[in-house]
Amino acid sequence: MKSFIIKLFMALALTLTATSAMASSHEAPLTQQQQASDKNYESKSILTMVSDFLKTTGVVALANPDVPKNISKDKVAMYKFHQSWGRIIMFGIVFLLFWLAIAKGFEPLLLLPIAFGGLLANIPVADIAGPHGFLGVIYQAGLSNELFPIIIFMGVGAMTDFGPLLSNPKTALLGGAAQFGIFGTLVGAVALSQYTDIFNFTLQQSSAISIIGGADGPTSIFIATKLAPELLGAIAVASYSYMAMVPIIQPPIMKALTTDKERRIKMSTLRHVSRMEKLVFPVVVLMLAILFLPDSTPLIGAFMFGNFLKESGVVERLNDTLQNALINITTIFLGLGVGSKLEADKFLVPDTLGILVLGIVAFSVGTAAGVLMAKVMNLFPGTKVNPLIGSAGVSAVPMAARVSNKVGMEYDRTNMLLMHAMGPNVAGVIGSAVAAGVLISIFK
């Protein structure tokens, strides 16, 4: 083996020396290039080098950030805060998100990549979220053009079973009512902006924020990128955090709005749904969206594409890839790309607090509206609906449905609401996409 390597080197040496002999004229420009390049390089003493190096450490950059000259004088304090304490606070927030994701199991699939992206985005000197850093490259490649949330929607569509909704169509109304969280919060955001001096959300920004109430991560990211990209980080973090906190946020609201008797309502077994129904359904929804609200079709179309591939039953390998490799890869990059918007100077602004507060309001209002809608439906004749499944109308598939089930079983251990709650749950996804379409349509 050794002899082989020696021979290899000798052969290469021969070839390349021959080349080299021919290359006398070829080298001149290289040398020039070198001189040009080295001209920029200035010799320094080793002490200067060490001190120069120390200046580029993160410690120095955090303790004493350089202020560019184009920052006006009255903003220097703010700028310095964002570059030093701001970054450190963001590290703390990121660690909090790590803890929520790992120890508390809050939507780790997206919160972990988002939080790690946020950690990387707040590193001084390296500018990883800048246009040439890899987070910036990822953001440009798939978030600025809204491609990643669309792909996620395809994957989620492939994972969704519309069977429960098809077997009990009227529960779709619950998924509609929950969208009240979106529009109620829109009014709230606008009111906050008009009547306080702290917040000044535009109508577009208010709309983007209110979508948090849709409890649908990719929809929130899609709309935020379209209407208010400057708020993307805060909206995405709020959206996924609250989706993750569904088991904490929803039960008190659900219990407050229902009577003990209502919570014990039993629902009849769901009828069997044929394969043909499931196959036709995604196309039917898409056709309705085309006829009535074409602006919602990018979202609904992507979702129904994934669902249709699954239900067709003839492209199992595409379905499998959609549900696994493709959605996982996209999730990693979507998370990192969203995280790149958690830079201190973008996240640590008063707006973020507003977004967090409005987000939880949106979520709660949506939950309440879903429950109340069920109670309204029970005023009409016909089979009764357990209002606990109304809260599942916010989306957050399948967690919200599980919460309905769990709360139901607290009052009657034999009352399995899970599949009944899946109906409003998936209707909530459609409802949010419709609401998103309305907002897109208004601001087009």
């Binding site: 979106i182 606008v190 309705l288 009535f292 039953g313």
Partner: protein, 79 residues
Amino acid sequence: METNLVVEGLKFMVLGMGIVFAFLGVLILVMNVMSKLIHKYFPEPDPTQAPVVVKGGEDKKKVVAAIFAAIMEDKKSQL
């Protein structure tokens, strides 16, 4: 003349919730019609078994794999 944004927001709400409910309302109607049509014109040969047949092959594979895994598991712990 200044715009009262809150009023605008309220208008959005009316319009938005109206459209959401209209959309889902129509969807409910269509679902009901669709189900009836499909049950009439494309009845499943034996509705309860059809999906089993389709999926059955795959599921059985999974079962076999699962049993195999279980056996391996057993063997491992005996090693």
